[in-house]
Protein backbone atom coordinates (compact mmCIF):
# COMPACT_ATOMS: atom_id res chain seq x y z
CA UNK A 1 0.00 0.00 0.00
CA UNK A 2 1.50 3.33 -0.97
CA UNK A 3 0.91 6.68 0.69
CA UNK A 4 -0.65 7.99 -2.51
CA UNK A 5 -4.38 8.58 -2.23
CA UNK A 6 -6.43 5.70 -3.51
CA UNK A 7 -10.16 5.67 -3.98
CA UNK A 8 -12.01 2.99 -2.05
CA UNK A 9 -11.26 -0.35 -3.64
CA UNK A 10 -14.66 -1.78 -4.47
CA UNK A 11 -15.31 -5.43 -4.99
CA UNK A 12 -18.43 -7.56 -5.16
CA UNK A 13 -18.27 -8.60 -1.53
CA UNK A 14 -18.15 -4.98 -0.38
CA UNK A 15 -21.07 -4.04 -2.60
CA UNK A 16 -23.22 -6.86 -1.24
CA UNK A 17 -22.21 -5.93 2.31
CA UNK A 18 -23.07 -2.26 1.78
CA UNK A 19 -26.31 -3.19 0.08
CA UNK A 20 -27.50 -5.13 3.11
CA UNK A 21 -26.31 -2.35 5.39
CA UNK A 22 -28.31 0.28 3.50
CA UNK A 23 -31.41 -1.94 3.36
CA UNK A 24 -31.16 -2.59 7.10
CA UNK A 25 -30.85 1.10 7.99
CA UNK A 26 -33.69 2.21 5.69
CA UNK A 27 -35.94 -0.57 6.94
CA UNK A 28 -35.25 0.38 10.56
CA UNK A 29 -35.97 4.07 9.92
CA UNK A 30 -39.17 3.27 7.99
CA UNK A 31 -40.51 0.93 10.68
CA UNK A 32 -39.57 3.42 13.40
CA UNK A 33 -41.33 6.33 11.67
CA UNK A 34 -44.48 4.40 10.79
CA UNK A 35 -44.84 2.75 14.21
CA UNK A 36 -44.08 6.05 15.93
CA UNK A 37 -46.65 7.95 13.89
CA UNK A 38 -49.32 5.28 14.47
CA UNK A 39 -48.70 4.59 18.16
CA UNK A 40 -47.94 8.17 19.24
CA UNK A 41 -49.93 10.46 16.94
CA UNK A 42 -49.17 13.50 19.13
CA UNK A 43 -45.43 13.33 18.45
CA UNK A 44 -44.22 15.77 15.80
CA UNK A 45 -42.36 14.65 12.69
CA UNK A 46 -39.21 16.48 13.85
CA UNK A 47 -39.13 14.61 17.13
CA UNK A 48 -39.72 11.29 15.35
CA UNK A 49 -36.83 12.02 12.99
CA UNK A 50 -34.53 13.00 15.87
CA UNK A 51 -35.38 9.80 17.71
CA UNK A 52 -35.25 7.63 14.60
CA UNK A 53 -31.76 8.81 13.63
CA UNK A 54 -30.52 8.77 17.25
CA UNK A 55 -31.68 5.24 17.98
CA UNK A 56 -30.60 3.92 14.54
CA UNK A 57 -27.11 5.26 15.15
CA UNK A 58 -26.95 3.87 18.68
CA UNK A 59 -28.24 0.44 17.63
CA UNK A 60 -25.70 0.33 14.80
CA UNK A 61 -22.93 1.22 17.26
CA UNK A 62 -23.99 -1.77 19.34
CA UNK A 63 -23.84 -4.02 16.28
CA UNK A 64 -20.37 -2.68 15.43
CA UNK A 65 -19.06 -3.27 18.94
CA UNK A 66 -20.64 -6.73 19.17
CA UNK A 67 -19.05 -7.94 15.94
CA UNK A 68 -15.45 -7.52 17.17
CA UNK A 69 -15.32 -9.87 20.15
CA UNK A 70 -18.02 -12.12 18.67
CA UNK A 71 -15.85 -12.78 15.60
CA UNK A 72 -12.93 -13.46 17.91
CA UNK A 73 -14.89 -16.11 19.78
CA UNK A 74 -16.88 -17.42 16.79
CA UNK A 75 -14.75 -17.19 13.61
CA UNK A 76 -17.79 -17.95 11.48
CA UNK A 77 -18.80 -14.30 12.01
CA UNK A 78 -15.58 -12.99 10.48
CA UNK A 79 -17.23 -11.95 7.17
CA UNK A 80 -19.17 -9.34 9.16
CA UNK A 81 -15.88 -7.74 10.18
CA UNK A 82 -14.73 -7.47 6.61
CA UNK A 83 -16.28 -4.11 5.80
CA UNK A 84 -17.12 -2.88 9.26
CA UNK A 85 -15.76 0.58 8.57
CA UNK A 86 -18.69 1.33 6.27
CA UNK A 87 -20.94 0.49 9.20
CA UNK A 88 -18.93 2.93 11.26
CA UNK A 89 -19.24 5.74 8.74
CA UNK A 90 -23.00 5.10 8.39
CA UNK A 91 -23.31 5.19 12.18
CA UNK A 92 -21.55 8.56 12.25
CA UNK A 93 -23.78 9.98 9.51
CA UNK A 94 -26.93 8.87 11.38
CA UNK A 95 -25.59 10.34 14.64
CA UNK A 96 -24.75 13.58 12.83
CA UNK A 97 -28.29 13.81 11.41
CA UNK A 98 -29.68 13.28 14.92
CA UNK A 99 -27.35 15.86 16.47
CA UNK A 100 -27.97 18.51 13.82
CA UNK A 101 -31.76 18.06 13.98
CA UNK A 102 -31.67 18.20 17.79
CA UNK A 103 -29.56 21.36 17.58
CA UNK A 104 -32.12 22.91 15.22
CA UNK A 105 -35.09 21.82 17.30
CA UNK A 106 -33.75 22.83 20.70
CA UNK A 107 -31.21 25.58 20.09
CA UNK A 108 -32.24 27.57 17.01
CA UNK A 109 -34.57 30.46 17.71
CA UNK A 110 -32.87 31.58 20.89
CA UNK A 111 -30.79 34.73 21.04
CA UNK A 112 -27.53 32.77 20.97
CA UNK A 113 -25.65 31.02 18.23
CA UNK A 114 -26.98 27.41 18.39
CA UNK A 115 -23.63 25.79 19.23
CA UNK A 116 -22.97 28.36 21.97
CA UNK A 117 -26.43 27.67 23.30
CA UNK A 118 -25.71 23.93 23.27
CA UNK A 119 -22.46 24.42 25.15
CA UNK A 120 -23.60 27.00 27.69
CA UNK A 121 -27.36 26.85 28.23
CA UNK A 122 -27.20 24.23 30.97
CA UNK A 123 -24.43 24.23 33.57
CA UNK A 124 -26.08 21.83 35.98
CA UNK A 125 -23.17 19.37 36.07
CA UNK A 126 -23.81 18.23 39.65
CA UNK A 127 -27.33 17.05 38.88
CA UNK A 128 -28.34 13.66 37.56
CA UNK A 129 -31.86 14.64 36.57
CA UNK A 130 -30.87 17.89 34.86
CA UNK A 131 -27.38 16.99 33.64
CA UNK A 132 -26.45 18.70 30.34
CA UNK A 133 -26.68 15.37 28.54
CA UNK A 134 -26.63 16.97 25.09
CA UNK A 135 -22.97 17.88 25.69
CA UNK A 136 -22.17 14.19 26.12
CA UNK A 137 -23.74 13.47 22.74
CA UNK A 138 -21.74 16.33 21.24
CA UNK A 139 -18.44 15.00 22.62
CA UNK A 140 -19.23 11.50 21.36
CA UNK A 141 -20.09 12.93 17.95
CA UNK A 142 -16.66 14.64 17.93
CA UNK A 143 -14.92 11.30 18.48
CA UNK A 144 -17.06 9.57 15.86
CA UNK A 145 -16.20 12.38 13.44
CA UNK A 146 -12.46 11.87 13.98
CA UNK A 147 -12.90 8.17 13.33
CA UNK A 148 -15.05 8.58 10.24
CA UNK A 149 -12.70 11.24 8.85
CA UNK A 150 -9.67 8.96 9.23
CA UNK A 151 -11.44 5.80 8.16
CA UNK A 152 -9.85 5.61 4.72
CA UNK A 153 -6.75 3.43 4.21
CA UNK A 154 -4.89 6.60 3.24
CA UNK A 155 -5.03 7.70 6.88
CA UNK A 156 -4.34 4.22 8.12
CA UNK A 157 -1.08 4.15 6.16
CA UNK A 158 -0.25 7.76 6.97
CA UNK A 159 -0.78 7.51 10.72
CA UNK A 160 0.65 3.95 10.89
CA UNK A 161 -1.54 1.10 12.08
CA UNK A 162 -0.75 1.36 15.82
CA UNK A 163 -1.57 5.10 15.99
CA UNK A 164 -4.66 4.63 13.83
CA UNK A 165 -5.80 1.73 15.98
CA UNK A 166 -5.25 3.72 19.18
CA UNK A 167 -7.32 6.58 17.74
CA UNK A 168 -10.11 4.23 16.73
CA UNK A 169 -10.12 2.62 20.16
CA UNK A 170 -11.62 5.91 21.37
CA UNK A 171 -14.87 4.38 20.16
CA UNK A 172 -15.18 2.87 23.64
CA UNK A 173 -15.01 6.36 25.15
CA UNK A 174 -17.67 7.50 22.67
CA UNK A 175 -19.81 4.50 23.61
CA UNK A 176 -19.61 5.25 27.34
CA UNK A 177 -20.45 8.92 26.63
CA UNK A 178 -23.50 7.85 24.59
CA UNK A 179 -24.79 5.48 27.27
CA UNK A 180 -24.55 8.45 29.64
CA UNK A 181 -26.21 10.69 27.00
CA UNK A 182 -29.23 8.38 26.95
CA UNK A 183 -29.25 7.53 30.68
CA UNK A 184 -29.08 11.17 31.77
CA UNK A 185 -31.18 12.55 28.91
CA UNK A 186 -33.92 10.44 27.45
CA UNK A 187 -34.36 8.24 30.53
CA UNK A 188 -34.76 11.29 32.79
CA UNK A 189 -37.60 12.66 30.73
CA UNK A 190 -39.43 9.46 29.93
CA UNK A 191 -40.27 6.72 32.38
CA UNK A 192 -39.10 3.90 30.10
CA UNK A 193 -38.53 0.59 31.87
CA UNK A 194 -38.30 -1.42 28.64
CA UNK A 195 -35.75 0.94 27.08
CA UNK A 196 -33.76 0.97 30.30
CA UNK A 197 -33.73 -2.82 30.46
CA UNK A 198 -32.74 -3.15 26.79
CA UNK A 199 -29.92 -0.67 27.21
CA UNK A 200 -28.75 -2.47 30.35
CA UNK A 201 -28.69 -5.77 28.47
CA UNK A 202 -26.85 -4.13 25.59
CA UNK A 203 -24.09 -2.80 27.85
CA UNK A 204 -23.84 -5.99 29.91
CA UNK A 205 -23.67 -8.16 26.80
CA UNK A 206 -20.92 -6.04 25.27
CA UNK A 207 -18.98 -6.09 28.52
CA UNK A 208 -19.34 -9.86 28.85
CA UNK A 209 -18.20 -10.57 25.28
CA UNK A 210 -15.28 -8.15 25.46
CA UNK A 211 -14.21 -9.52 28.83
CA UNK A 212 -14.38 -13.13 27.55
CA UNK A 213 -12.34 -12.24 24.46
CA UNK A 214 -9.85 -10.26 26.56
CA UNK A 215 -9.32 -13.12 29.00
CA UNK A 216 -8.68 -15.51 26.13
CA UNK A 217 -6.22 -13.10 24.55
CA UNK A 218 -4.51 -12.72 27.90
CA UNK A 219 -3.81 -16.46 28.00
CA UNK A 220 -2.15 -16.32 24.55
CA UNK A 221 -0.02 -13.40 25.71
CA UNK A 222 1.78 -15.43 28.38
CA UNK A 223 5.45 -15.15 27.48
CA UNK A 224 6.92 -18.48 26.35
CA UNK A 225 10.26 -19.59 27.84
CA UNK A 226 13.26 -20.00 25.54
CA UNK A 227 15.52 -23.02 26.00
CA UNK A 228 18.93 -22.74 24.36
CA UNK A 229 17.56 -19.99 22.13
CA UNK A 230 14.55 -22.06 20.97
CA UNK A 231 10.95 -21.71 22.15
CA UNK A 232 8.62 -24.70 22.17
CA UNK A 233 5.45 -24.10 20.14
CA UNK A 234 3.39 -27.29 19.89
CA UNK A 235 3.47 -30.87 18.64
CA UNK A 236 3.13 -31.15 14.88
CA UNK A 237 -0.18 -33.02 15.17
CA UNK A 238 -1.67 -30.26 17.35
CA UNK A 239 -1.79 -27.83 14.44
CA UNK A 240 -4.28 -28.32 11.62
CA UNK A 241 -3.13 -28.23 8.01
CA UNK A 242 -2.93 -24.63 6.69
CA UNK A 243 -3.51 -23.25 10.18
CA UNK A 244 -1.30 -21.73 12.83
CA UNK A 245 -0.52 -21.77 16.51
CA UNK A 246 0.30 -18.44 18.17
CA UNK A 247 2.87 -18.00 20.90
CA UNK A 248 4.16 -14.93 22.64
CA UNK A 249 7.91 -14.52 22.75
CA UNK A 250 10.26 -11.53 23.00
CA UNK A 251 7.32 -9.22 23.65
CA UNK A 252 5.21 -9.92 20.57
CA UNK A 253 3.17 -12.73 19.06
CA UNK A 254 4.55 -15.18 16.53
CA UNK A 255 2.28 -17.18 14.21
CA UNK A 256 3.58 -20.65 13.34
CA UNK A 257 1.91 -22.17 10.26
CA UNK A 258 1.79 -25.81 9.16
CA UNK A 259 1.23 -26.48 5.44
CA UNK A 260 2.27 -28.96 2.75
CA UNK A 261 4.50 -30.90 5.17
CA UNK A 262 6.32 -27.72 6.19
CA UNK A 263 6.37 -25.24 9.08
CA UNK A 264 6.98 -21.47 8.80
CA UNK A 265 6.95 -18.78 11.47
CA UNK A 266 6.08 -15.13 10.89
CA UNK A 267 5.08 -12.11 12.97
CA UNK A 268 1.44 -12.37 14.02
CA UNK A 269 0.85 -8.68 13.26
CA UNK A 270 -0.78 -7.82 9.93
CA UNK A 271 0.59 -4.69 8.27
CA UNK A 272 -2.89 -3.43 7.45
CA UNK A 273 -4.70 -2.92 10.77
CA UNK A 274 -2.53 -5.23 12.88
CA UNK A 275 -4.99 -8.09 12.56
CA UNK A 276 -4.02 -11.49 14.06
CA UNK A 277 -2.48 -13.46 11.18
CA UNK A 278 -2.27 -16.59 13.33
CA UNK A 279 -6.07 -16.72 13.36
CA UNK A 280 -6.14 -16.76 9.59
CA UNK A 281 -5.31 -19.63 7.27
CA UNK A 282 -3.24 -20.35 4.21
CA UNK A 283 -5.20 -19.69 1.02
CA UNK A 284 -3.60 -20.17 -2.41
CA UNK A 285 -0.26 -20.70 -0.72
CA UNK A 286 -0.41 -17.39 1.18
CA UNK A 287 -1.11 -16.61 4.83
CA UNK A 288 -4.41 -14.73 4.66
CA UNK A 289 -5.38 -12.22 7.36
CA UNK A 290 -8.75 -13.08 8.93
CA UNK A 291 -9.75 -9.43 9.17
CA UNK A 292 -9.60 -8.03 5.65
CA UNK A 293 -7.72 -10.62 3.64
CA UNK A 294 -4.20 -9.14 3.22
CA UNK A 295 -1.85 -11.94 2.10
CA UNK A 296 1.76 -12.87 2.92
CA UNK A 297 3.98 -15.70 1.68
CA UNK A 298 4.88 -18.00 4.59
CA UNK A 299 8.54 -18.40 3.65
CA UNK A 300 9.50 -14.70 3.48
CA UNK A 301 6.56 -12.75 4.97
CA UNK A 302 6.19 -10.68 1.79
CA UNK A 303 2.90 -9.97 0.04
CA UNK A 304 2.72 -11.44 -3.46
CA UNK A 305 3.37 -8.84 -6.21
CA UNK A 306 2.13 -6.24 -6.99
CA UNK A 307 1.71 -5.67 -3.24
CA UNK A 308 4.69 -4.60 -1.18
CA UNK A 309 3.82 -5.30 2.48
CA UNK A 310 6.44 -7.23 4.43
CA UNK A 311 6.36 -8.71 7.91
CA UNK A 312 9.21 -10.10 10.06
CA UNK A 313 9.95 -13.84 9.81
CA UNK A 314 11.40 -16.32 12.33
CA UNK A 315 13.50 -19.45 12.09
CA UNK A 316 11.68 -22.67 12.92
CA UNK A 317 12.69 -26.30 13.49
CA UNK A 318 10.92 -29.62 14.00
CA UNK A 319 12.48 -32.24 16.30
CA UNK A 320 10.81 -35.51 17.28
CA UNK A 321 7.43 -34.21 16.19
CA UNK A 322 7.79 -30.99 18.21
CA UNK A 323 7.93 -27.53 16.72
CA UNK A 324 10.30 -24.85 18.01
CA UNK A 325 10.98 -21.28 16.89
CA UNK A 326 13.86 -18.91 17.44
CA UNK A 327 12.19 -15.81 18.96
CA UNK A 328 14.68 -13.41 17.36
CA UNK A 329 12.77 -11.60 14.59
CA UNK A 330 14.47 -11.43 11.20
CA UNK A 331 14.07 -8.20 9.18
CA UNK A 332 10.69 -7.99 7.39
CA UNK A 333 10.72 -9.96 4.15
CA UNK A 334 13.73 -12.13 5.05
CA UNK A 335 13.44 -15.49 3.33
CA UNK A 336 13.66 -18.50 5.70
CA UNK A 337 13.72 -22.07 4.43
CA UNK A 338 10.60 -23.74 5.95
CA UNK A 339 11.21 -26.55 8.46
CA UNK A 340 10.32 -29.92 6.93
CA UNK A 341 8.10 -32.16 9.00
CA UNK A 342 9.22 -35.49 7.50
CA UNK A 343 12.90 -34.77 7.37
CA UNK A 344 12.68 -32.91 10.69
CA UNK A 345 15.50 -30.62 9.59
CA UNK A 346 16.43 -27.25 11.07
CA UNK A 347 15.62 -24.30 8.87
Amino acid sequence: MSLAYQAVGWNRQKKVYDGWLAVGILLYLAVFMVLGAVLFPSITAETLLIRGFGTASFVLLHVILYIGPAARLFPRLLPLLYNRRHMGVSMFVLGLAHGVLALIQYHVGGDQFPLVSLLTSNGDYASVVNFPFQLLGFLALGILFLMAATSHDFWLANLTAPVWKALHMLVYVAYALLVAHVALGYLQNHAAPVTTALLGLGVLGLFGLHAAAALREGATDKEAEADNGWVYVARVDEILENRARMICAAGERIAVFKYEGKVSAVSNVCQHQNGPLGEGKIVDGCITCPWHGYQYRPKDGASPPPFTEKIPTFRAKVTEGKIYVDPKPLPPGTEVEPALIQGEGVA
Partner: protein, 162 residues
Protein backbone atom coordinates in the same frame (compact mmCIF):
# COMPACT_ATOMS: atom_id res chain seq x y z
CA UNK B 1 -3.15 -6.04 17.33
CA UNK B 2 0.22 -5.37 18.84
CA UNK B 3 0.65 -6.21 22.48
CA UNK B 4 0.69 -2.71 24.05
CA UNK B 5 -2.53 -1.85 22.22
CA UNK B 6 -4.07 -5.12 23.32
CA UNK B 7 -3.24 -4.17 26.91
CA UNK B 8 -4.84 -0.76 26.45
CA UNK B 9 -7.87 -2.37 24.82
CA UNK B 10 -8.20 -4.64 27.83
CA UNK B 11 -7.91 -1.73 30.25
CA UNK B 12 -10.58 0.22 28.35
CA UNK B 13 -12.87 -2.82 28.38
CA UNK B 14 -12.61 -3.25 32.12
CA UNK B 15 -12.94 0.47 32.93
CA UNK B 16 -15.34 1.96 30.39
CA UNK B 17 -18.07 -0.71 30.21
CA UNK B 18 -18.45 -0.83 34.01
CA UNK B 19 -18.41 3.00 34.06
CA UNK B 20 -21.19 3.05 31.47
CA UNK B 21 -23.17 0.55 33.54
CA UNK B 22 -22.76 2.68 36.67
CA UNK B 23 -24.02 5.79 34.88
CA UNK B 24 -26.95 3.81 33.47
CA UNK B 25 -27.91 2.49 36.91
CA UNK B 26 -27.49 5.96 38.42
CA UNK B 27 -29.66 7.48 35.70
CA UNK B 28 -32.33 4.80 35.96
CA UNK B 29 -32.47 5.07 39.75
CA UNK B 30 -32.93 8.84 39.62
CA UNK B 31 -35.75 8.76 37.07
CA UNK B 32 -38.47 11.16 38.05
CA UNK B 33 -41.88 9.72 37.69
CA UNK B 34 -43.34 12.29 35.32
CA UNK B 35 -46.61 10.91 33.99
CA UNK B 36 -46.95 11.65 30.30
CA UNK B 37 -50.74 11.90 30.62
CA UNK B 38 -51.12 13.65 33.96
CA UNK B 39 -54.37 12.97 35.80
CA UNK B 40 -54.89 16.64 36.62
CA UNK B 41 -58.22 17.97 37.83
CA UNK B 42 -60.14 19.13 34.79
CA UNK B 43 -60.79 22.83 34.21
CA UNK B 44 -63.99 24.22 35.69
CA UNK B 45 -66.72 24.72 33.17
CA UNK B 46 -69.59 27.11 33.43
CA UNK B 47 -70.36 30.76 33.61
CA UNK B 48 -67.88 32.68 35.71
CA UNK B 49 -70.69 34.97 36.86
CA UNK B 50 -72.19 32.22 38.99
CA UNK B 51 -71.73 32.19 42.74
CA UNK B 52 -71.03 34.94 45.20
CA UNK B 53 -67.78 36.80 45.19
CA UNK B 54 -66.29 36.37 48.68
CA UNK B 55 -62.69 37.48 48.14
CA UNK B 56 -60.85 39.53 45.57
CA UNK B 57 -57.30 40.81 45.30
CA UNK B 58 -55.11 42.42 42.67
CA UNK B 59 -51.72 40.72 42.44
CA UNK B 60 -48.95 43.02 41.16
CA UNK B 61 -47.22 40.83 38.62
CA UNK B 62 -46.55 41.02 34.91
CA UNK B 63 -49.11 40.89 33.34
CA UNK B 64 -51.25 42.09 36.29
CA UNK B 65 -53.54 39.49 37.79
CA UNK B 66 -56.78 39.62 39.73
CA UNK B 67 -57.55 36.62 41.90
CA UNK B 68 -61.11 35.99 43.08
CA UNK B 69 -62.86 33.38 45.19
CA UNK B 70 -66.56 32.68 44.58
CA UNK B 71 -68.85 30.69 46.76
CA UNK B 72 -70.95 28.20 44.88
CA UNK B 73 -73.49 25.64 45.96
CA UNK B 74 -71.12 22.69 45.75
CA UNK B 75 -67.70 24.15 46.37
CA UNK B 76 -65.73 27.35 46.23
CA UNK B 77 -64.17 28.45 42.98
CA UNK B 78 -60.84 30.18 42.50
CA UNK B 79 -60.50 32.41 39.46
CA UNK B 80 -57.24 33.80 38.14
CA UNK B 81 -57.78 36.58 35.62
CA UNK B 82 -54.64 37.94 33.97
CA UNK B 83 -54.86 41.13 31.93
CA UNK B 84 -53.16 39.27 29.11
CA UNK B 85 -52.20 35.68 28.58
CA UNK B 86 -49.20 35.14 30.90
CA UNK B 87 -45.94 33.76 29.52
CA UNK B 88 -45.77 30.79 31.85
CA UNK B 89 -44.99 27.48 30.24
CA UNK B 90 -46.53 24.37 31.80
CA UNK B 91 -47.93 26.26 34.81
CA UNK B 92 -49.40 24.10 37.57
CA UNK B 93 -51.54 25.84 40.20
CA UNK B 94 -51.33 24.66 43.81
CA UNK B 95 -52.90 25.72 47.07
CA UNK B 96 -50.39 25.43 49.92
CA UNK B 97 -51.19 25.69 53.64
CA UNK B 98 -49.15 28.17 55.70
CA UNK B 99 -46.42 26.77 57.88
CA UNK B 100 -43.07 25.06 57.54
CA UNK B 101 -44.19 22.15 55.39
CA UNK B 102 -47.81 22.93 54.71
CA UNK B 103 -49.72 20.48 52.56
CA UNK B 104 -49.82 21.26 48.88
CA UNK B 105 -52.92 20.48 46.87
CA UNK B 106 -52.84 20.51 43.10
CA UNK B 107 -55.71 22.58 41.75
CA UNK B 108 -54.93 22.06 38.07
CA UNK B 109 -52.93 23.32 35.11
CA UNK B 110 -52.98 26.97 34.10
CA UNK B 111 -55.33 27.14 31.15
CA UNK B 112 -54.44 28.67 27.82
CA UNK B 113 -55.68 32.23 27.57
CA UNK B 114 -55.80 34.84 30.33
CA UNK B 115 -58.44 33.22 32.58
CA UNK B 116 -58.23 30.03 34.61
CA UNK B 117 -60.77 28.61 37.05
CA UNK B 118 -60.36 25.90 39.64
CA UNK B 119 -62.27 24.16 42.39
CA UNK B 120 -60.93 25.38 45.72
CA UNK B 121 -60.89 22.39 48.06
CA UNK B 122 -62.50 22.71 51.50
CA UNK B 123 -59.08 22.86 53.20
CA UNK B 124 -58.21 25.82 51.01
CA UNK B 125 -60.89 28.02 52.50
CA UNK B 126 -60.79 26.89 56.11
CA UNK B 127 -57.10 27.60 56.53
CA UNK B 128 -54.85 30.48 55.58
CA UNK B 129 -52.39 29.58 52.85
CA UNK B 130 -51.20 30.73 49.48
CA UNK B 131 -51.60 30.04 45.81
CA UNK B 132 -48.43 28.89 44.03
CA UNK B 133 -47.92 28.65 40.28
CA UNK B 134 -45.19 26.14 39.54
CA UNK B 135 -43.59 25.94 36.12
CA UNK B 136 -42.71 22.37 35.10
CA UNK B 137 -40.39 23.69 32.41
CA UNK B 138 -38.39 25.84 34.82
CA UNK B 139 -38.70 23.38 37.70
CA UNK B 140 -39.56 26.18 40.15
CA UNK B 141 -42.37 28.36 41.44
CA UNK B 142 -42.86 31.36 39.20
CA UNK B 143 -45.62 33.13 41.16
CA UNK B 144 -47.05 32.93 44.69
CA UNK B 145 -49.51 35.05 46.63
CA UNK B 146 -51.34 34.75 49.97
CA UNK B 147 -54.90 33.43 50.15
CA UNK B 148 -56.38 34.12 53.60
CA UNK B 149 -59.05 32.05 55.24
CA UNK B 150 -62.17 32.91 53.29
CA UNK B 151 -65.47 33.36 55.11
CA UNK B 152 -68.45 31.48 53.76
CA UNK B 153 -71.04 33.71 52.18
CA UNK B 154 -74.33 34.00 54.11
CA UNK B 155 -77.06 31.63 52.97
CA UNK B 156 -78.85 34.58 51.35
CA UNK B 157 -75.71 35.76 49.55
CA UNK B 158 -75.12 32.35 48.02
CA UNK B 159 -78.51 32.48 46.34
CA UNK B 160 -76.91 33.64 43.10
CA UNK B 161 -76.06 30.11 42.11
CA UNK B 162 -78.90 27.79 41.14
Amino acid sequence: MIRPLRKRHQLMTFVLFPAALVVLILGASQQRNVPTQSPLPGPLQGDSGQGTLVWEQAVPTNPPLTARVYDQAAAARLELAFEQTPLIADGLVYWQADGEDGTRLLLGPLQSGPNSRFFLPEAGRQQAGRIVIHSLAHGEAVLAFALPQVKRASAAGAGGSP
